[in-house]
Symmetry: C2
Subunit: 202 residues, 2 copies
């Protein structure tokens, strides 16, 4: 198997950090998204949505969508557990991971995508939507700071995939100058902690 | 347990159809989203994101996010299977469900949310983004019609949660006059089939 990767994009990093936490090594093949190789017909056979990462299995099956790829490796390598144990905890982790996707990573990504030169001609841009999503992302950071007053990690008292999604979102915010504010002490404490894990460098 | 519901909104219908497929009955309590009861502090204790549906367990735990709720019931009632069997199929179903969420349900929902009077004052609207998401939704329907030339259902040859997400998306498109085009025969065949299942009325 191998994973089609891009070193600078946020979504492939979600999978790389996840695999680093698992201690699993999978060969990466970098796709030149700067030259839009991912938007060519050849790559769209692997993922019609044109995104990276994509996991290609030895039988040729291609799995796209970062969380679907992570879930696949969670089943193959259950420890350390990153999706929760038992129906209730798994539902809670999925809920928190989705909140981090829809309410943090997505507004932060839209702030970049809907206005930045890189996506000009690649997607239909609405720069005003970038500005609104910036405000939504800032609201989410403020809210999340309050949530983290009561617990150590995003979904509870241990590290899960929800922390990976949130860390990648916060880090990707830098390119759009969205970040943790000085008074957001809980968020800063959490971010320092997850960033200190060896997996964060993946 | 009970589920906070809204009869007209698309996301609660995802859970209702899923539970109907499972043959599982859970009491519903309707939340008046027309009066924005879901945006009041009392409801935000259950779901800070203010959305429905929310599953409240007997111990008071609240699970929000439609797919997280469905996943919980999949574990409690594994048959009929709707999330896939084995690591590979589960990853594929998750991938297809996410594609239906990000590339179909979301653009269709944004077309409504970013322009419609109902969301005025509820969210920060960018009407131009509604227009762009309409085009993106129409592109996705065209692409999906091609995909369905080769198989019976969204994620393969059997009905899964990805079909539920896609059906709810297509049906919700009606309020924005987004729909299956006359030449999209595969999509029409699929939609007729999933709509004929008793669960579609849930």
């Amino acid at each position: 198997m191998k994973i089609y990767n891009s070193p600078a994009a946020p979504n492939p990093r979600r999978v790389r950090v996840f695999l680093a936490e698992k201690g699993v090594q999978v060969p990466y093949e970098d796709v030149d998204i700067g030259k839009a190789v991912n938007r060519q017909p050849e790559f769209r056979k692997k993922n019609p949505m044109a995104g990276v990462p994509v996991l290609e299995l030895d039988d040729g099956t291609c799995i796209a969508e970062s969380v679907a790829i992570c879930r696949y490796f969670e089943e193959l390598h259950p420890e350390p557990n990153l999706f929760g144990v038992g129906a209730k905890e798994r539902a809670q982790v999925d809920m928190w991971n989705r909140r981090m996707e829809f309410n943090l990573l997505q507004p932060i990504a839209d702030t970049f995508r809907q206005r930045h030169e890189f996506f000009k001609g690649r997607i239909r841009q609405v720069p005003e939507y970038a500005d609104i999503q910036r405000l939504n992302a800032e609201d989410s950071l403020k809210w999340l700071d309050g949530e983290l007053a009561n617990r150590k990690f995003i979904a509870g008292d241990r590290f899960t995939i929800a922390d990976i999604t949130a860390m990648i979102a916060v880090d990707f915010g830098r390119v759009s100058k969205i970040g943790i504010q000085p008074d957001q002490k809980n968020l800063a404490r959490w971010h320092a902690e997850v960033s200190a894990r060896p997996s964060a460098k993946a």
